[in-house]
Amino acid sequence: MIDRRDFLTTFLGATASAVACKRAPPSPNLVGELGGANFERGHRLREPELRAKLAGPLPVEKVRVAIVGGGPAGLSAAWRLLRAGVRDFVILELEDVAGGTSRGGESAVSRYPLGAHYVPVPGPEARALITLFDELGLVEGREPDGTPIIAEQVLCRAPEERLFYRGTWYEGLYLHAGASPRDLAQFRAFKKELAKWNKWRDPKGRHAFVIPLSRASDDPEVLALDAMSMDAWMRARGFDSPRLRWLVDYGCRDDYALSLEQASAWAGLFYFVSRMGADSQSAELITWPDGNGELVRRLAGSVGDRLRTGMTVGQIDDDGTLGVLDRDGVAKRISAERVIVALPRFVARNVVTSLRGREESAAFDYGAWVVANLHLRDRPTSYGVPFAWDNVLYESKSLGYVVATHQAGRDHGPTVWTWYYAIAEDGKPTREKLLKATHRDWADVAYSDLAPTHREFATLVDRIDVFRWGHAMTRPRVGARVALAKASPATAIGKLHFAHTDLSGVALFEEAHDHGVRAAEEVLAALEIASPTIR
């Protein structure tokens, strides 16, 4: 049994833990489940007996293209193949449900996210993504610069975010209340720096920070940012305002599970600049009740029965042969003309024969996430500005919560809050605590984090479901970007093509999509199927 105070202190800090321990823990009757990636099947991938099972003569199924991994990258690759008229392919997914870290859940109250929960309105460079959005009926027109005009109902409804500080909710994510002139001057100067980078172009006319990253500049001036931490970059510019540093740190935790001391300056700036429009304002966010779950659901829907779930792909050879165990543990081989390996890198290196035993690049470091979905019978009262979509706590180590019913326009009655926690701490003890913790331990963290922010909270929570993501996202630490460029992990090997957001060094649906489309277009070229690029 984990010590409550110690566990809360690890994940919420000493002050919050002390406060939480003074009030009662959530009732033991509070129900919920502990979910996460299927550890059993995942860990089977490393066991020698799996390889033994896959050795020797086995029945062989022939397909034209095999996509291994049914997350956003694999589903996007499939979508691209379908667009080109390729029908003879399969997607092999380890989990029982496709969607990877973008997937969502559903209850009688609402759909809700289990992981990634929004995509900023893409800039004109994200051509393939805009094509997808167009096909999904989200695009109503184009701005003169090619930025899509997105249908109002999928843009995050105002108010987008609010911030809890000392008992009151404030508008926006930057804590304006009580800011000194010095704070505000630094905030303005910081935004000016961002605007400068937003306007910056290399001699080839490429952006410094743009999505997809395949379009970004590799100019030394940009790469120099990879060599220092975001903290060092801010200090060098005299940005010491606590609330500004909080904002940047929040961004790094939110997208990278890193503190601003751990994240590279490249990553810190990428977070802000990549989602800016031409006017240097933050792009609006596209979201659904189940976050990006909507996107992967619709993509999976178009694939039909080509998607096979519960499939353990234990071996991928360069010649396009896969060793596969189905849901019932029956082994077979799949022989494909081409294979798209749409797996996270930490899985791919255990499965792809020619990656096994290779020294792994420092670029592939993973952060963990805990996502808790809280079912509330009704909306509790809060002081200050009313509920926003994203509700962030200034004084907490968590990332706050998003309201699943916000985007549906349901403003009364039962709701689901999705609470996020990115584990930025390094070191084994934290990870061990994460793995040892029970549902109740995590439910307690989420509960203790949110209970002080709302009246009647305790009486309104009906259930808390916890979802653990042990390897939620690659983390762009100092030096990661240069290391990644050196490793060039997206380069095809034999008949294998690689697609995953890991290959960009950041965890984004847009990057996964871009890699999926690229890998699919590589396959189309290899199969000599004419289809003009959409990237």
Binding site: E152, Q153, L155, R157, A158, D378, G409, D411, H412
Partner: protein, 551 residues
């Protein structure tokens, strides 16, 4: 009650201790052996003062409450006082039938007064909200309280008989009785109504009666001996009920916000969605949602005729019948009332968020009379859902309407602001049949000019041709609406010139005044505004900024 004039011109201090020796002869017939305690007698006179005060307050409570909820104060005061006084007569007569155990009966009566009188105001308010035979309940309660109060003094007189000479007894008791009436009649308007409100006054006075019952039990311990415990238990129970009532009333409360409204609250309820309050003024009543006035019965016909008839007139002028109508919001049923008068109307679907609102409009006699029972019309179908969610629901995608009427509360927060966005108007447009017309309540073009024009421009942005218009509603001031239909070529202009042929005359509108609605004076003219979208909700900001100047 006749004043008995003493033939002995001796000055007597009201609360003088009884001096039996001096006045002995007159009281002699029933003179008991034991010497009355000075304190007991004095305290019994205090009891007279208290019950007299309480008795008068109950009478005033019933009269005031009746005139608040029914209007016509002269009639209510006269009838309530008449019933009350005659009931007291019945009580006085009944007291004569009490043979033994006078003290015990007195305490029992006290407990009964505490219960019935204490709960009278909350029970009457509830009866008013839910029963059409409110008057029956009113007079029954007044009758019961009157009878009980009427028994009190005669019984007390019999108890005190043993302690005072007859002429002093009558003098003292009646003096204290009338003094109590003075206290009650002054405290009621000066302290109770303004500080506590009707419901709390009723409960507090009931509590005082219950405490008096407990006090009397101790005071008359000798006389009630075998029943002492039972009496105390009953009085304690009633006191507990009244305290619980006070706490409960705080929660459901009719009490907390009484000071916020100009008129007396006759109904208040917090539903899941909003706070519904009905107030009653001298000759009209008002509905408030979350503290915002929705209508006053005095002039709502101007608002609702203007909301409904221009749209129906535009249809008629285009040579189109109006058969199916969709009403969004409008749970008070007053828009329905107008629509149901339209010849040829076949079906109305009304989508209102709050089942508490539509149920109230159906059951509260006050509202039901005003909306002419519109919710009972078989052509009306009620859906309780958020209009935004309902319109966007795939299951309703194929539904088409001749007229869509949006009668939402003003956009003073985001949950309401979404109902005035381009997305919402696009959804409304999708649900229009051939030549369909939309009418939208659009806040005040004078007090909230920017908000008014923001609504019109937002509707235009959603692909609608719009015609903004206004009407003067005394309790609101200048009020605005927007008439609209799908943009594009149309056989007739959107602005109607005359009302459709009707078998009756509307209260407000005729053809010239219909045309007049569309004339906006210079201080209500169009100005530059942003478009209200889900992702910016500018209208909520406009609205807040504009109304802040007036509220």
């Amino acid at each position: 009650m006749t004043l008995v004039v003493s033939d002995e011109p001796k000055e007597v201090s009201l609360l003088d201790p009884p001096k039996r020796r001096v006045w002995g002869p007159q009281a002699a017939p029933a003179a008991p052996e034991r010497v009355p305690e000075k304190a007991t007698a004095t305290l019994l006179l205090v009891t007279v003062l208290i019950i007299a005060t309480c008795g008068l307050v109950y009478e005033l409570l019933a009269s005031t409450l009746a005139s608040f909820v029914l209007g016509d104060a002269v009639m209510q005061y006269s009838t309530v006082i008449g019933v009350y006084l005659s009931a007291m007569g019945i009580g006085a007569w009944l007291s004569g039938r009490v043979e033994g155990g006078v003290a015990r009966t007195f305490v029992e009566i006290e407990i009964a007064v505490a219960l019935v009188g204490g709960l009278s105001a909350p029970v009457l308010f509830m009866a008013f909200a839910h029963l059409s035979w409110f008057r029956v309940v009113l007079y029954a309660i007044v009758l019961v309280i009157g009878i009980l109060v009427g028994m009190e003094i005669p019984l007390l007189l019999r108890i005190l008989r043993e302690r005072y000479a007859f002429k002093d007894l009558i003098a003292r008791v009646l003096t204290v009785d009338y003094l109590g009436a003075l206290v009650g009649s002054l405290a009621f308007p000066i302290f109770f109504v303004p500080k506590l409100g009707l419901v709390r006054t009723s409960l507090v006075i009931g509590g005082i009666n219950a405490l008096t019952a407990i006090g009397s039990t101790f005071l008359l311990a000798e006389d009630v001996k075998p029943h002492k415990t039972g009496l105390l238990a009953r009085a304690g129970l009633v006191l507990a009920i009244l305290i619980a009532g006070t706490v409960g009333a705080e929660r459901i409360t009719l009490l907390a916000e009484e000071g916020l409204y100009a008129d007396e609250i006759v109904y208040a309820k917090q539903t899941t969605y909003q706070r519904i309050v009905v107030t009653r003024g001298r000759s009209s009543f008002q509905l408030f949602l979350n503290g915002n006035l929705q209508f006053s019965s005095a002039d709502e016909y101007r608002y609702h005729e203007a909301l409904v008839w221009p749209a129906l007139a535009a249809r008629a002028e285009a040579g189109l019948p109006t058969r199916n109508v969709l009403v969004l919001g409008g749970g008070d049923g007053l828009g329905l009332r107008e629509l149901l008068k339209s010849p040829g109307l076949e079906s109305i679907t009304i989508v209102d968020l709050d089942p508490g609102m539509t149920a109230l409009a159906k059951t509260m006699p006050l509202l039901r009379n005003l909306n002419e029972g519109s919710f009972f019309d078989p052509r009306v179908h009620v859906v309780n859902d958020d209009a935004y969610v309902w319109l966007g629901d795939k299951r309703n995608e194929a539904l088409r309407y001749d007229v869509v009427i949006a009668d939402f509360p003003d956009p003073n927060h985001y949950a309401l602001g979404k109902l005035y966005t381009t997305r919402m108007y696009a959804l409304m447009k999708q649900h229009l049949g051939e030549g369909g017309v939309i009418s939208v309540q659009s806040t005040s073009p004078l007090f909230a000019r920017r908000s008014f024009w923001c609504i019109a421009r937002t509707m235009e942005k959603a692909g609608l041709e719009v015609a903004p218009y206004h009407v003067f509603v005394p309790s609101f001031g200048e009020w605005g609406f927007t008439l609209a239909r799908a943009a594009g070529p149309a056989p007739t202009p959107l602005i109607p010139q005359k009302l459709p042929a009707l078998p009756f005359k509307p209260k407000y509108l005729d053809d010239p005044s219909l045309r007049q609605l569309f004339v906006l004076a210079r201080d209500m003219e169009s100005l530059e505004v942003e478009i209200n979208r889900l992702d910016n909700q500018v209208l909520v900001h406009y609205y807040e900024a504009e109304w802040k100047r007036y509220l």
